[in-house]
């Protein structure tokens, strides 16, 4: 009823190609933004920030980054954890070396450093394809983790190799360190996520995004119609790594506050972000959010339900939680192999005709 195109006349081409062509969608989008920026920061407390919102926002950034590479450009990568580590350590080195520069700039620079590293490890993608490439990116994962663990310069020669985020402020508000308010953490991540998601959406529907998708669909054919595989693949690696690097920097500086490379950025992280992208939907920005929400929230909800409400022993609950998450992944794939984003798309199609489907 509310959700329909009828009566929504477009008079300019720009209107036709906007992200949310249906009026209701647009309003919903503004409403979500208004709630996210205007309501949540006033209600948020430590638990909601640290257990739910901040990890969700940061993983969304990482998932968008990986989705650009895997979903849009078709290059499966399992090096996400390693690239996040590059972002985190770059941010740490910058924070401690130039304490007077704004943390926002450090985070973006950390993304830039990661982009360079990403391009370097993206080079083999010109020769290696498919699962071979996925496994090859694991080389980046393991090598980077080893490097940050082994070279003391990266962790400023501290005794144990842990890195700690010192306190940094923006407009007088602490955004890293222990005395940060939950609202500050949340808003800082939200602003970055909003900017990056907006950028990603517009990149992927522009020339460069179309080139990526051409390469994804068939790289030889794309080459024949004049898409340069070298620049296209490497630009996908660069942009994707930039996002992942920013996510890594935020993960370390804002969310955890202290990190150890093997534990925080291990191979599990690479898999986790890949799961988010696939469950959410390859080649969809919304899918990145949905996947991140699913894999961040699901365990928390299950844990609270099983342990908090039903009072089960924690170990049984943890095992059953694994089984349920695994079962749900399989179920989702069987019901809708193209991810949550596709489910969302289908339900929108249905909604358009509701309540009078023909």
């Amino acid at each position: 009823m509310l959700y329909r195109e009828a009566g929504d006349f477009k008079t300019r081409y720009v209107d036709d190609s906007q992200t949310f062509p249906i009026r209701f969608d647009r309003w919903r989008y503004y409403a979500v933004l208004a709630i996210a920026f205007g309501v949540v920061p006033f209600l948020i407390n430590d638990y909601w920030a640290n257990a739910v919102f901040v990890p969700f926002l940061i993983y969304s950034i990482a998932a968008i980054g990986l989705n650009i590479l895997t979903g849009y450009c078709g290059q499966v990568s399992l090096g996400t954890g390693g690239f996040m580590a590059v972002g985190a350590y770059a941010c740490y080195k910058l924070m401690t070396a130039f304490p007077e520069v704004s943390i926002l700039i450090h985070v973006l620079l950390a993304g830039g450093v990661t982009a360079c590293v990403g391009v370097l490890f993206g080079l083999p993608s010109l020769r290696i394809k498919g699962f071979y490439l996925a496994v090859a990116t694991l080389a980046a994962q393991f090598f980077l983790v080893w490097l940050f663990n082994k070279v003391p310069w990266f962790y400023n020669y501290s005794a144990s190799g842990q890195i700690n985020a010192p306190e940094r402020t923006i407009f007088g508000q602490a955004v890293t360190g222990a005395s940060t308010t939950p609202a500050a953490k949340y808003l800082f991540c939200l602003v970055i996520l909003f900017a990056l998601a907006w950028l990603a959406r517009n990149l992927t529907r522009g020339t460069i995004g179309r080139k990526w998708m051409a390469i994804r669909d068939m790289d030889i054919a794309a080459e024949i119609i004049g898409v340069n595989p070298l620049t296209t693949k490497l630009s996908a690696f660069a942009v994707s790594s930039f996002y992942i690097g920013v996510a890594g920097a935020l993960f370390f500086a804002v969310y955890l506050g202290a990190a150890e490379v093997g534990e925080a950025f291990g191979i599990q992280k690479s898999f986790l972000v890949l799961f988010m992208v696939i469950i959410g939907g390859l080649g969809s920005i919304f899918g990145s959010f949905a996947g991140a929400a699913f894999l961040v929230l699901m365990p928390v909800v299950l844990k609270n339900l099983l342990v908090g409400t039903l009072g089960w022993p924690t170990d049984l609950a943890a095992h059953i939680e694994l089984m349920i998450v695994g079962g749900l992944i399989i179920l989702f794939l069987i019901v809708e192999p193209h991810g949550l984003a596709q489910l969302w798309r289908l339900s929108k199609e249905k909604l358009r005709l509701w309540p009078f489907p023909h």
Binding site: R28, V32, N45, D46, Y47, N50, A51, V52, P55, T96, W146, N149, S158, A159, S160, G161, Q162, N164, P166, E167, G177, A178, S179, Y255, L256, G257, A258, A259, E260, G262, E263, A264, F289, A290, A293, L297, V300, V301, K303, N304, L305, V307, G308, T309, P313, T314, D315, A317, A318, H319, L322, L340, W344
Partner: protein, 427 residues
Amino acid sequence: MKKRLTALAALALACATPAFADLNIPNLSYRTGPFAAGGIPYADGFNDYFTLLNERDGGIGGEKVVVTECETAYNTEKGVECYEATKGNGALVYNPLSTGITYQLIPKVSADHIPLYTPGYGRTSAANGKIFEWVFNYPANYWDGASDIVNYLLGENGGDLKGKKIALVYHNSAYGKEPIPTLTKLAEKHGFELIEVPVDSPGQEQKSQWLQIRRDKPDYVLMWGWGVMNAVAIQEAANINYPMDHFIGVWWSGSENDVLPAGDAANGYKALTLHGSGSDYPVYADLQKYVVGAGKASGAGDQIGTVLYSRGMYAALVISEAIRKSQEMTGHAAITATELRDGFEALEITEARMAELGLPNFGQPFAASCTDHGGPGQAMIQQWDASARKWNLITPFIAPDDEVIQPLVDADSAAFAAENNIAERCN
């Protein structure tokens, strides 16, 4: 987005806050994941001791203790989630049994004013109470442990380790790298050669490392391992016929889990320990009567008396004594986290008190102070008897070399203080 909101609503429902308890002690444990084998007995011991206090004495000073368990799977993110989920309920003290989570929590507990108790693990320099107001790691830390072993070896070799080769097999992580600065200093002081042999987590495959040890023929091998790495290392050491009584692990490499998979081959392996083990102590009669017999044992109830169970129990004992101390100091039973911190700082545990609690000759006596949050740092050596399936204590408590360790602690904590703008206390 809608989906997200419904999920959030479901979560909000699921988050029904439990009622405020009188003495709420969260137990961030791990019974799943790669280190579950170590986490299970520790958590059981920790829970069972508080159950015993509740059942036998009606709590501490008349207040019941409520232990809220939260599963971390040894994962720092889940650790953060657990911390945030439990701290709102008036949590008194945290004991996460993970060096990674400890590093994470140190700034957080300092801001939230909740004590963090990390016996035998965590950040070593937290022993310096001048900088780390909210963290306690007595009775001993890693650097003490390294020094204890070297002092033991000095005793074995008539006070001279010149020209000896000592290899350190360590978990290639923050935890495993802890003893290296101390051992390097001690190597300079006593003239032995230190060979560093890193093992990548989880340590399922250690062939190269042990081939290297076989070639280098070190006089002693020390181990800083956790989880499966311990079991594999002991098996590989046995495979190369390395003399087991020259192989010494830190206290986290000396539990039944580590030696049992190797069977008879592990006979003679030595490890540090902070406390006695086995169920020959009087407290176990009470445990049997009030907890196990009553069907209130934590977990499967099959871990009682093991090394890590004893360690969990020991941690619970120290916490309960600190609670008692602060009840005494404040004069009321329902203490707050800040008051408990004062109790931790004023805590003194004597041998007489340990005997009174049913654990004579179990742990070392110690007294904390404003500057000293680290305790005397002594440890005993225990040796595995494979045929009796039992750890035997073979030395009394060995003292560490404070001359070497204190400057290291001061330097590291000063670096932390400088990085985080912390002013020294206790002046």
